[in-house]
């Protein structure tokens, strides 16, 4: 049982890192970013390239990888998304195009074979008699720290207040002198950085392949729907529910069925509570 508790926490933490960034950019800029999984893949591949090809130290590689993905996300928002933001359909299409392009570029540059991202912790740790891969425990700790830091940043800083203001009413915020466009770019950078960091810390124990963005995108999407689009606490709660459900199914039923957990969760949410666990009901 302790094994399920520990592994469930790790799965939930990685899911939360993916979902929080995804819901953040939707909550603030109303952008349904289908290239969010690509940020996750880019984080893992950047870490691989810096450590294995450029032989940089692991910690330097990790920081560089996250920074690079953040810059990529900001550039994408500025160059591709902003000109199309008036049409949500156009935004969907351009972000999907970015996702497919990143996937194909990774295929061409790195091939279809899995890549090995070195682990920060390369030994098992004994937790009350349960031997757990050290990297997984580190992933759990980093996820908690990063999400906590993001929460504090939004709640306690001036820039965080500006983000909250823009998320409530971009036009009113603009009239108050808050540069909404710049806020959108910063939030896209934060969102990309979180997904990139998830790729860097989960890469060593999960698969690093060009198609890794697909599963990440589907899972992040399902967590956000269950939690409520735009709600960060909702996403964290939903990540825990889905993460633990997946782990329970994998350990006690059949590991092949874990993928269906997310889909069942989406179905139940849409039927029973379409706004999600903590989403706001918007009347048209």
């Amino acid at each position: 049982m302790l094994t399920v508790l520990i592994y469930g926490a790790v799965t939930s933490a990685v899911l939360a890192m993916l979902a929080v960034g995804f819901t953040l950019i939707f909550g603030v800029a109303r952008i349904l970013n289908l290239s969010h999984g690509a940020f996750y893949a880019l984080g893992a591949y950047c870490a691989y390239s810096f450590t294995t090809l450029l032989k940089l130290p692991l910690i330097v590689s990790a920081v560089l990888a996250v920074a690079l993905v953040a810059v990529f996300g900001m550039a994408m928002e500025r160059v591709l998304v902003r000109p199309l933001r008036q049409s949500s359909l156009a935004v969907l299409m351009i972000t999907l195009t970015v996702a497919l392009t990143v996937e194909q570029v990774l295929f061409v540059v790195f091939g279809s074979q899995s890549k090995n991202v070195p682990a920060f912790v390369n030994f098992p740790i004994n937790v009350h008699g349960v031997s757990v891969d050290g990297q997984r425990l580190l992933a759990l700790a980093i996820a908690v720290v990063l999400i906590g830091a993001l929460w504090l940043f939004i709640q306690r800083t001036r820039l965080g207040s500006a983000i909250l203001a823009v998320s409530q009413d971009p036009e009113a915020a603009q009239y108050m002198g808050i540069p909404a466009n710049r806020i959108f770019t910063i939030v896209m950078g934060l969102s990309a950085a979180l997904a990139g960091a998830a790729g860097v810390i989960a890469g060593p124990f999960l698969s690093v392949r060009p198609t890794m963005d697909q599963t990440a995108m589907i899972t992040a999407f399902s967590v956000v729907i269950v939690g409520g689009l735009g709600s960060i606490p909702g996403s964290i709660l939903a990540a825990c529910i889905i993460g633990y459900s997946q782990t329970f199914v994998a350990f006690y039923l059949n590991p092949e069925w874990t993928g269906t957990v997310s889909l069942v969760a989406i179905l139940l949410t849409l039927v029973l509570r379409p706004s999600g666990l903590m989403g706001r009901v918007v009347n048209a």
């Binding site: 090995n116 031997s131 060593p204 999960l206 350990f251 092949e256």
Partner: protein, 405 residues
């Protein structure tokens, strides 16, 4: 005279045309169509080995005075892509022979199209027995299908049972076995034979599970294997993500040795790619740098020299297939498929991984002197040792570093 001249001129013209047509037919290369997943190592090595064989044959003057050439179509691991590849090669490129294949599922989808095109297909990568079963059921329609390599999964299963009996039970004294494999056509055919064989030899299968090829977290499976009381883990992986599988198994320090079929672990850089996590894994292979036949070491060394890497199992298959086809065309003195098939059916050809001979289903056979599985273990510093069969062994099987007796 005026009447004769046009006739003579016509005859000379007609003769000239006929001669030029004949000359162009003689000069036209024999075209080999490669249907293979070009983004995978198995596909890259199929192409590299084919090119190597073609260059060697052309340097000696070709076959029946014609050079060999090849054209590639990507079949990926997708049946739809595979069917398109076969149709392109046979209908657009009009190849004389097809060489390739990797995924059994893709192969089975391609077979009706190969049969319809009446083009010989020499398989070098897919292992399902169903691939050649159709030759027995509808010979006239499917006689074009031959498997040069690898051994079909049923034969592989019986050789794994042999390894398990003599090495796992005999030397490591472990008689409780768990089986984990990917849920693929060839594995579903292999596992029942494997289980039956293991139990017939006094071993107990404590747990067996097939999983989806796209699975990325194997930790729950390892927990179940451990809980089952197994003392050895048999793996059957080809398309699945074995890099992650091996890394997670190492991180979990699963307390038992493991081995079986792991196609990605046949790749020479596999162990270093996973930072040494594969040390202790035993995986079957079809070729290694050992004097299996007089052609093995020259092939291996030349492949390494030309391509800068050691070959995976499709390379000897493709190399053998090109030579075998050239041999059969020479014997038949034509590229006519029906006549070449008759020669292939009689072949007892010495290839780079053993002799090649086809049974009634056009499937390559195993046995002494023929192609057999080699059990190769990753050992200290990511070196490889052949640990079974005894006749070609270069070292003894050892336990993974974290497993004690």
């Amino acid at each position: 005279m005026r009447r004769i001249f046009p006739l003579v001129a016509s005859a000379v013209f007609a003769g000239g045309v006929a001669m030029s047509v004949q000359a162009s037919a003689a000069g036209k290369p024999i075209l080999i169509g490669l249907d293979t997943p070009i983004q995978h190592q198995v596909g890259k090595d199929t192409i590299a080995a084919t090119k190597m064989a073609i260059d060697e044959i052309n340097a000696k003057g070709g076959v029946l005075g014609r050079k060999l050439a090849y054209v590639v179509a990507d079949e990926g691991v997708d049946p739809q892509l595979g069917v398109s590849a076969i149709n392109k090669l046979t209908s657009d490129d009009h190849v004389d022979v097809l060489i390739g294949g990797y995924s059994s599922g893709v192969q089975l989808a391609e077979e009706p199209h190969i049969a319809r095109s009446k083009t010989i297909w020499l398989g070098v990568g897919a292992a399902s027995p169903n691939i050649t079963a159709l030759v027995g059921k509808h010979y006239d329609k499917y006689k074009y299908i031959f498997r040069v390599n690898p051994l079909n999964s049923a034969l592989q299963a019986s050789q794994i049972v042999d390894f398990a009996t003599h090495v796992v039970k005999g030397k490591l004294h472990r008689d409780k076995v768990a089986i984990l494999g990917e849920s693929a056509v060839w594995v579903r055919g292999l596992v029942p034979v494997l289980v039956k064989g293991l139990e017939a030899n006094g071993m107990k299968v404590t747990y067996q599970q097939l999983f989806d090829e796209s699975m990325t977290d194997f930790t729950p499976l390892f927990a179940r294997v451990k809980d089952s009381g197994a003392k050895y883990l048999l793996v059957i992986l080809s398309h699945a993500n074995s890099d992650v599988f091996v890394k997670q198994l190492y991180e979990a320090r699963l307390p038992m040795p493991y081995g079986g079929i792991d196609v990605k672990s046949m790749t020479p850089n596999f162990c270093s790619r996973v930072s040494g996590a594969a040390v202790g894994e035993t995986t079957v292979n079809f070729i290694t740098r050992a004097p299996i036949t007089h052609k093995t070491i020259p092939f291996w060394d030349k492949f390494v020299k030309v391509n800068g890497r050691a070959p995976v199992y499709t390379a000897p298959g493709a190399y053998n297939a090109v030579y075998l086809y050239a041999w059969a065309v020479k014997k038949a003195a034509t590229t006519n498929a029906d006549k070449v098939i008759k020669q292939l059916e009689k072949a007892d050809y010495v290839g780079v991984g053993g002799k090649i001979k086809f049974n009634k289903l056009h499937d390559d056979i195993d046995g002494p002197g023929y192609q057999n599985l080699l059990f190769v273990q990753w050992q200290k510093d990511c070196t490889r040792q052949v640990v079974w069969p005894k006749s070609v062994a270069t070292g003894k099987v050892v336990l993974p570093p974290w497993v004690s007796n």
